[in-house]
Symmetry: C2
Subunit: 138 residues, 2 copies
DNA sequence: CGCAATCAAGTTGTGCGCAACTTATCGGGC
DNA sequence: GCCCGATAAGTTGCGCACAACTTGATTGCG
């Protein structure tokens, strides 16, 4: 089962790769943008992004630097708390949202699963993830 | 669904990490050993290992070097075809098999899923992986 | 036979993912 | 007001993954 999960995860990023490559993005970078698009004009901090994606600053800091260099994102020190860095979208970052609107459907098609199977799989995987993380916090 | 798969895969390696760490292994290294244990006194080539795990030589070459440095594996140029390198187990590598016999059960428990759910999940994930790879070859 | 195309493994470079550590800021107790 | 523990982000180091390339061996076609 465990190898199946590992293999499926890598196979899926194989599907994403050529699609995201059209926009010069990697899969983790795309995930960050998905979070930002959802919370537009909210500008989460690096920690909040990390909580949403379960990634730490060691992964996010360089990734966000690359997104900033690509002109999709801006990082600004919070005025209220100088420790925090807020991550906001640029106009270019917002514009990308529409151009990538069809990505989820293209990927879903490539999996060859039915809508019902996708929903079921989502449920069971989310449950596994949460079970594991709940155990870790104890 | 896609983030769920990505997150679940990483959560599962979080479960493996402390367990494998007791033996000084990483998860991909453990997967290589699983293949070798299954095919004992067969000594697959690097390519055959790659086909089994869907990893290329760029990933496997340095990984196998580390397993060799740990004394678990030996790499030998094939006499019949000097291009090939056969990967065999050392005595120490074989001995590790027994000591790690309980690993799968410990991990399965940590997922919090029932036996039936694990079987079902395995089936659906394997199908996704194969669907994706079949499409790529066309 | 000779040589061009193919193939196996390894190398290089980039980007995660995570542990361990560093730096700078913040907040609470005295 | 000051210090001490906690917190946020960043840095360093290591091990995958994967693309692109290199090196050396092999195969097959003329």
């Amino acid at each position: 089962m465990c190898f199946a999960l590992y293999a499926a995860s890598r196979a899926l990023t194989d599907v994403y790769r050529p699609i995201l490559d059209e926009h010069g993005l990697t899969y983790p970078q795309y995930l960050v943008l998905l979070v930002l698009w959802e919370r537009d004009d909210d500008a989460p901090t690096v920690s909040e992004l990390g909580a949403a994606l379960r990634l730490d600053s060691g992964t996010l800091s360089p990734l966000l630097k690359r997104l900033e260099a690509a002109g999709l994102v801006v990082r600004t020190r919070s005025a209220a708390d100088e420790r925090r860095v807020e991550v906001g979208l640029t106009g270019q970052g917002r514009a990308l949202r529409e151009r990538m609107g069809d990505v989820p459907r293209r990927v879903a098609t490539a999996t060859g699963l039915t809508e019902a199977e996708l929903v079921f799989l989502h449920g069971i995987l989310t449950r596994v993830t949460e079970t594991i993380h709940r155990q870790k916090e104890q």
